[in-house]
Assembly symmetry: C2
Homo-oligomer: 344 residues x 2
Amino acid sequence: HSIAVLPGDGIGPEITAPTLELLGELGDFTFTEHPFGGASIDVHGTALTDETLDACKRSDAVLLAAVGGPKWDTTDPSKPRPEQGLLGLRKQLGLFANLRPVRPVPALYDASALKREILDGTDLLVVRELTGGIYFGEKTRTATDASDLCHYTVAEVDRIARVAFDAARKRRNLVHSVDKANVLETSRQWRQVVHEVHGADYAEVQLEDQLVDSCAMELIARPTQFDVIVTENLFGDILSDAAAMLSGSLGMLPSASVGNPDGPGLFEPVHGSAPDIAGQGIANPLATFLSAAMLLRHGLGLEAEATAIEAAVDGALGDGLRTRDLGGTATTAEALDAVRRRLA
Amino acid sequence: HSIAVLPGDGIGPEITAPTLELLGELGDFTFTEHPFGGASIDVHGTALTDETLDACKRSDAVLLAAVGGPKWDTTDPSKPRPEQGLLGLRKQLGLFANLRPVRPVPALYDASALKREILDGTDLLVVRELTGGIYFGEKTRTATDASDLCHYTVAEVDRIARVAFDAARKRRNLVHSVDKANVLETSRQWRQVVHEVHGADYAEVQLEDQLVDSCAMELIARPTQFDVIVTENLFGDILSDAAAMLSGSLGMLPSASVGNPDGPGLFEPVHGSAPDIAGQGIANPLATFLSAAMLLRHGLGLEAEATAIEAAVDGALGDGLRTRDLGGTATTAEALDAVRRRLA
Ligand SMILES: CC(C)[C@H](C(=O)O)[C@@H](O)C(=O)O
Ligand SMILES: CC(C)[C@H](C(=O)O)[C@@H](O)C(=O)O
């Protein structure tokens, strides 16, 4: 199995290295590292080169850590930005479905802002549309104004709805479809298409509509009500970060971007490049370990190996492993050791 | 003082009535009620008639309860919808600044999903741009696709930034400007304009940029870090509902929509029309009472009367008043009695 590795920026490289060590203990993988994001801008003037894109296309799966940082922050539309690499990669690889599972670990209840009784029993999956909407619509900018177009085709909504319903069938058979149908035309289309797909092929799955503002609230107040949440790109971005609060830290959440049957999936932690703590060896690598687990499962079909990583992470947390973001003092290296001990 | 009253739909009428009673005890106001939202669609075929709009324009302040409900939910773009009335009213009255204060009351800490130590000391104000962005941009819909345009002018960003900086000066001198500048052109313009206004006229106020996904998380994890949050229309809608979780219930949050020096302001609870509990006499009227307090303060300049309502609500909660949404059994009428007793 060949895995294209994109360490990216900030804490990216230092959480990638231990993840590759961990994967190395589980099988025989070929890793090839490629410049990406700000690191690629510095050398090649663009966040995603043709070489990196081709290497990803030829691989069996792509592992990405994180991109971005103040060094490349700019409000000048003519300058390259690290996120363009991420958005370009998602689009070019045809990865329209982003899967973000959230299942708070009892060992981390203390690290969460939420009360134990709110968290208990939470087990949800955010299915975020990843290659459409306002992220990819036409943008304009003049001296006096700016615009971004949010655009969705019926086909784009149809296919992401199917991903959500299929996922629900393997879980608890409940889908919340989140939109802003009382204001947006794209949301009214979204709602209509989701209901058509539901009626035609998934009538036995329970379907609920929820407005995005209401969902932001309900996620915090009553998270156990959710099984699968399906929503468009921007809403998914905001809601999955809000949902991260259920896990105690963004440092715990993996994601899988899939959808193209003929190409590799992309696996990355939900968190960013955390430039403020980069280079100190204290970043929490667990979300990247768990992303590697998703890579093994969804990308390479290695279910047993995926479960082994997940169980080892749970076990290490049970043993008391706590990085800074979780209220502890463990370093990145100590986190790797703790998980590796459990894996053995 | 003349107050235009729009009870609207769902629980709207039953939370409006006690609010008018309360206001009646504080001064000599002329109330005129007008059909609005779904109630107006049923009678006049449109959510906002010219008569209602004119009456609002002629008033000194507008008090609105809530609009919407499943009866008028439709994904057919040719059908009238209750929210069009709300959006039309905001736009026609020139109310570009929506102020949403969030200050959890210790008496309600138990009703919140968040831990006491997270809530303690939280006191923030969301300043939401209310008449621009994707809410008002051009919309299209065909058989195969749909679109919504997010559009902002420099002037629109400039004036809302000033509202936020002015508010911060009277508070703790800190503004978080929230955008998605790593993806949206409107956000890059937003960030640039906010910094220009800051540099030119408010350099002594502390200014922080924050991405919307990150803000959704930080609001829950570390709410005490915030003083004033300023953001565009859609982000403000989502974030202020997320912030509502800090108050234990959406049933506690008032809002003021202002910005037009030559016309009335609009005062309304943040929550919706709650059709599921409408007509049962159990809706929490406190957010509407607190909206009336904001009306007295910002709309009519009656500071003492505003403070009296706010103190009475705090007092009643301290006495143990809990409606259903707060985990208790008090009815709407009992809530009015409890607050009125404190007011006396
Ligand atoms: C970095 C940014 C462009 C990206 C996004 O908004 O999609 C990130 O927040 C994410 O959620 O993966
Ligand atoms: C009813 C709806 C159109 C409205 C909005 O999104 O502005 C509401 O959610 C609000 O926040 O006042």
